[in-house]
């Protein structure tokens, strides 16, 4: 089969009328194809990267030049970054974002592991219903249930104006993380669980000593996604922390930063760089876990 393919292909090359041997023609066609593909790829790369470049270049311009529409800085004002950092509140927002993302990730991972394990490992009545409910909450716009939740946090618990309404729910299972981790756990062969049981492990110690170490890539993926979710979240901080600027996160504060420095695009762009930077740094360090997670979402279990 393979040999016929190889021997017959050159004779099949059509498009008569062009000069040169068939082999040369094929090579020329390949070269043209290579050039076309890479030209498009370079154009696409410009579309994806130029916004970053413009944002960065503007972030080091002087106040006046940032308003001029010029593209290249006359002088590099690195002091813009210092100015952003010394803006009242900015360091608080950093701290709050780290706290929200850190605690949120920790809580989510701890609560998602047992739930995902139960949904992947046990066959029980209502399992399908539970999965359907998990996926439904995953799909639900957060605006649907926010009003009564807000009233509880504001009127009964008096905790609005802090990040607690954002992180506490994450200790009770995040649907997306549960779903993702369950998909991962399904790929672990049941035999490992069985042999652990033969060795006299209970369910809990099987989970902690056998499953968790094996599921490390999946756990890393949900941790990363949750960290990004918290870091990027705007709606949550807007609802629960708006009254108290000291409790704002970076994502929420950045917008008010722009309105406070309405004319200073350079400072706003420097702040934008500082909000983007951590996620991109984290990405480069954790690329593998990330790709793992993305394939998990896309590929069916």
């Amino acid at each position: 089969m393979t040999t016929t393919t190889l021997t017959r292909r050159p004779t099949r090359a059509r498009t008569p009328g062009t000069t040169g041997t068939p082999a040369a023609r094929a090579r020329r066609k390949q070269l043209l194809h290579w050039i076309a593909v890479h030209a498009i790829a370079i154009a696409a790369a410009l579309f994806f990267l130029l916004p970053f470049v413009f944002v960065f270049l503007t972030s080091v311009m002087s106040d006046d030049q940032a308003m001029s529409g010029e593209l290249w800085p006359h002088q590099w004002h690195w002091s813009n970054y210092a100015a952003v950092f010394t803006t009242p509140g900015f360091l608080d927002w950093w701290k709050n974002s780290l706290l929200y993302a850190g605690l949120g990730t920790l809580f989510t991972v701890c609560s998602a592991i047992p739930v995902a394990y139960a949904l992947a490992r046990f066959r029980f009545r209502g399992r399908r219903t539970a999965m359907v409910l998990v996926i439904s909450t995953m799909m639900l716009p957060p605006q649907v249930v926010v009003i009564p939740m807000y009233l509880v946090w504001a009127q009964q618990l008096h905790l609005t104006g802090s990040i607690w309404p954002l992180v506490v729910p994450m200790a009770f299972g995040d649907a997306y993380s549960i779903f993702l981790l369950r998909q991962f756990l399904l790929t672990i062969p049941q035999e490992y669980v069985e042999s652990a049981k033969v060795d006299g492990c209970g369910e809990l110690s099987t989970l902690l000593r056998i499953i968790v170490p094996m599921a490390r890539p999946g756990i890393a993926a949900i941790a990363l996604f949750q960290f990004f979710y918290c870091w990027n979240d705007y709606f949550g901080p807007q609802i629960y922390t708006a009254q108290n600027p000291a409790a704002w996160t970076l994502s929420y504060g950045l917008e008010s930063f722009k309105t406070a420095h309405n004319v200073n695009w350079n400072l706003t762009m420097a702040a934008t760089v500082l909000v983007m930077a951590p996620v991109i740094v984290v990405f480069f360090f954790a690329q593998k876990a990330f790709v793992e997670g993305v394939t998990l979402t896309g590929v069916k279990g």
């Binding site: 890479h38 916004p51 439904s136 009003i147 009564p148 299972g173 762009m269 909000v275 991109i280």
Partner: protein
């Protein structure tokens, strides 16, 4: 001993223990689901029949909130229209563009690693930061994009400041962050068996027929997945539209001040923003709850579609 005397209670006890154990593992989610989903959903239903401004006691008003939201509220129409517009246009363009970029990246031979990272990076930009960046880039008077278009002699639109261009600008922003779809499509495209392409070439198939008869059938499940999750995400579209509208309006806002979303001319107002505006700016809790239930019903309808086996979200073994 016990086993010979009464096997049934022993078995039942074992079953009970097993069930309690499962409940134990599930308990964080069971609590979370009831407290942070079940309760507020019921309470939303309750408030949708009440007049409540978050200060005085709620009073029963029957269907008034519902008739107000569905028939009288002037902004419901535009918000629903914008949401549908975004669901159709944004999802369609994102899928087509994501597939194109995915195809491109599988064809690139030199510098594949660089291109992959470059194409993926914008997806990582936090939505607020990406939106601030785009409002700056597309700023009509001093933004670099219009600066370049002007230099080339191309008439430049007002982007986020023009009601007809505001939504397309948001679409552009969403195409910039195509990285998630690119990775999914790339994985699907690399999964198509090479032999099928070779066989098609033998039959003299050109690039288009190879795509149409080999690639497309192999990746339709992933395309469907991308469409359905895209629809669900876009129905929640909130942050980028709200931030872009606020910043482009140029109105200075301090904490606590109220600026209605949707600038310019309600062209970027979506249903989730309207819920926020009703509930947290106008303190019309009843109408906000009625509207969020409308959103809930639409979201549930789409989710039900999603649960169908063909969309591939619910694993086959269930």
């Amino acid at each position: 001993m016990a086993a010979t005397a009464s096997p049934a209670p022993e078995l039942r006890r074992k079953q009970l223990r097993e069930r309690l154990r499962i409940l134990g593992f599930l308990s964080p989610w069971l609590v979370g689901f009831s407290v942070f989903f079940g309760y507020p959903l019921i309470a939303t239903g309750y408030f949708s029949f009440m007049h409540y401004n978050q200060i005085e006691q709620p009073t029963f008003v029957g269907l008034r909130n519902w008739t107000y939201v569905l028939t009288q509220m002037p902004l419901f129409g535009p918000a629903l229209w914008n949401t549908l517009w975004l669901v159709v246009v944004m999802v369609a363009l994102r899928v087509v563009f994501g597939l194109g970029i995915g195809l491109l990246i599988t064809k690139v031979k030199s510098g594949a690693g660089f291109f992959r990272t470059a194409f993926y990076l914008p997806y990582l930009a936090p939505p607020v930061a990406a939106t601030v960046a785009f409002v700056f880039l597309l700023n009509p008077s001093t933004g670099p994009v219009n600066e370049i278009l002007g230099a080339l002699g191309i008439p430049a639109p007002e982007w986020f400041n023009d009601p007809t261009w505001a939504k397309p600008s948001l679409v552009l922003l969403s195409l910039w962050g195509i990285g998630d779809l690119m990775v999914i499509f790339m994985a699907a495209l690399l999964d198509v068996p090479k032999e099928q392409y070779e066989a098609a070439e033998l039959d003299g198939a050109g690039a288009w027929s190879k795509f149409r008869y080999v690639t497309w059938p192999a990746i339709t499940p992933i395309v469907l997945f991308a469409v359905v999750t895209g629809v669900v995400q876009t129905m929640q579209y909130y942050t980028q539209a709200l931030v872009a509208g606020k910043l482009a309006s140029g109105v200075s806002i301090g904490p606590g001040s109220v600026i209605q979303p949707g600038y310019p001319d309600h062209s970027t107002l979506t249903v989730p923003q309207l819920v926020y505006s009703l509930g947290f700016q106008n303190f019309n809790t009843g109408a906000a709850c009625a509207l969020s239930l409308v959103l809930f019903v639409i979201a549930m309808a789409v989710t039900t579609l999603l649960m169908r086996k063909r969309a591939g979200l619910l694993p086959a073994d269930d």
